[in-house]
């Protein structure tokens, strides 16, 4: 793990070069360009807001902000991992011709998603002003929560990038996981609305805990519950270690499959 951190530092120029070029390639030939990274979550927000405030009549305080916070945080996870899936295959010419650390495309996918998240947090702040919501002082802890999420996203991106070279199924399976995760994460509902036995299972999901912590620091003005911190750090560490081991096993032979 320390080797990955050192690799990231020595190769930071490449990492950012990839992250920026990913953004450029992603929005090339589109008229609205980077604006899409703002429009997309806003469209999601309006659909979900309409469905859950008028049809289901959910009564969550500051619902638009609650919803947008969940959408952008989950989007970061969704975007980072889906960029990572094809991060190696999209660069097959580069990878078969030049050696560079194979972790870079996956990590830069996580960085690309984080840059998009940073833009979306800006939108969230605009929303707060529009709804005259004064954020509590604990919002200053949000970067720490997002830092933890970044670790989690990197930990998932690494194995996804190499597995998708070897098994094309990875992409299809992962799309289902991401879809299911959207409904199994308290984005448009509150976690304690769920039956207790479901809560007991879902509490091991890193995204559930990250979102719970984000709700606490941004909306409730409370420190994240100690349980959330323990579960999040625990599950993220385990997943990241497993992810790293999978990555290490496949990273060298992956080139021969291209």
């Amino acid at each position: 793990m320390t080797s990955i951190r050192e690799e990231m530092w020595t190769n930071r120029a490449i990492l950012f070069n990839f992250a920026i070029s990913d953004l450029k390639v992603r929005y090339r030939n589109s008229i609205l360009g980077v604006l899409w990274s703002i429009i997309e979550p806003l469209l999601m927000l309006s659909v979900l807001y309409f469905v859950f405030s008028t049809m289901f009549k959910f009564d969550i305080p500051n619902f638009p902000i609650y919803l947008l916070l969940g959408i952008i945080i989950y989007n970061c996870f969704k975007n980072g991992t889906s960029f990572a899936l094809n991060s190696l295959t999209n660069r097959s010419a580069l990878i078969t011709q030049i050696y560079f650390p194979r972790s870079i495309p996956a990590i830069s996918s996580a960085i690309t998603a984080s840059i998009m998240l940073a833009i979306e947090v800006g939108i969230l702040l605009i929303f707060m002003i529009a709804f005259q919501f004064v954020p509590p002082i604990t919002i200053l802890l949000l970067p720490l929560v997002l830092g933890l999420q970044f670790m989690f996203v990197v930990g998932v991106c690494l194995p996804l990038s190499v597995l998708n070279v070897k098994f094309k199924d990875t992409e299809f399976i992962w799309n289902v996981v991401v879809h299911a995760g959207f409904f199994l994460t308290p984005i448009f509902y509150q976690f304690d609305m769920l039956p207790e036995f479901v809560q007991n299972i879902l509490q091991f999901s890193p995204m559930v805990q990250i979102l719970t912590m984000a709700h606490h620091v941004v909306l409730y003005g409370l420190l994240p519950p100690i349980n959330s911190i323990l579960y999040a750090v625990g599950s993220i560490s385990v997943l990241t270690i497993i992810g790293y081991l999978i990555f290490r096993k496949y990273q060298a032979q992956m080139v021969e499959e291209m």
């Binding site: 490449i14 580069l94 078969t96 011709q97 030049i98 098994f167 199924d169 080139v255």
Partner: protein
Amino acid sequence: MSEYAIRVKSVSKNFKIHHEKRDSVFESMTGFFQKQKHSEILQALDNISFDVKNGEIFGIIGPNGGGKSTLLRIISKIYSPDSGSVDVQGKIIPILALGLGFHPEFTAITNIYQSSILLGFKKETIDTRIKEIIKFAELEKFADTKVKNFSSGMLMRLAFATSVFVDPDILIFDEVLAVGDENFQKKCAKTILSFKERGKAIVFVSHNMGLVREYADRVMFLNKGKAQTIGSPDDVIAAYGDFCRERDKISNVSNE
């Protein structure tokens, strides 16, 4: 700095050849229960050892499928050897195909930056040399064109110019210089010789025996993954010539 730029010690590499490639988990699972084997082992390199000194031009010749490209990929760290070791002193630039892993959607300039940064060079270094690179590649009019619109000659010129101006310690070519026109080939040859004079190592694969005889200091003849001979160009080219005549004789006999 040590005398050797590259030391290859008893490197072997096997490839699994899938006759029916299993790409999905389902196929892997069903294939697991099938009795007949769908793959065989191809020994691409078998116990290869050689050194390349600083200031030396090292040629590799041999028939197709002899392991030449695999060897270059292992020296460039793209493949990892199954056994043995490769020790490389200094920065290395491999030109293994047309381009240096160029992205078709990026312009020539963006690609120069991306490839050289990936090869371990600083952005500032490239800033000072970018104009010379474009000029050397004779691509002044196309610096801002996406490389997907480039001809193979243009791609090769861009790759060669980039590799030369970022000034690596070791240059590796896999049979790509033949793409350029005569004028550019002369320019390449001149540059490669000046590299050699400055004590840099060059490894190249070629089927053009005239070129090998003219430029290489030492040559290796690689066949079926084994190093048949390593030595002076004349000796090794003669050995390769014998091999080719022998092979033709056998195929003629079998044809009759």
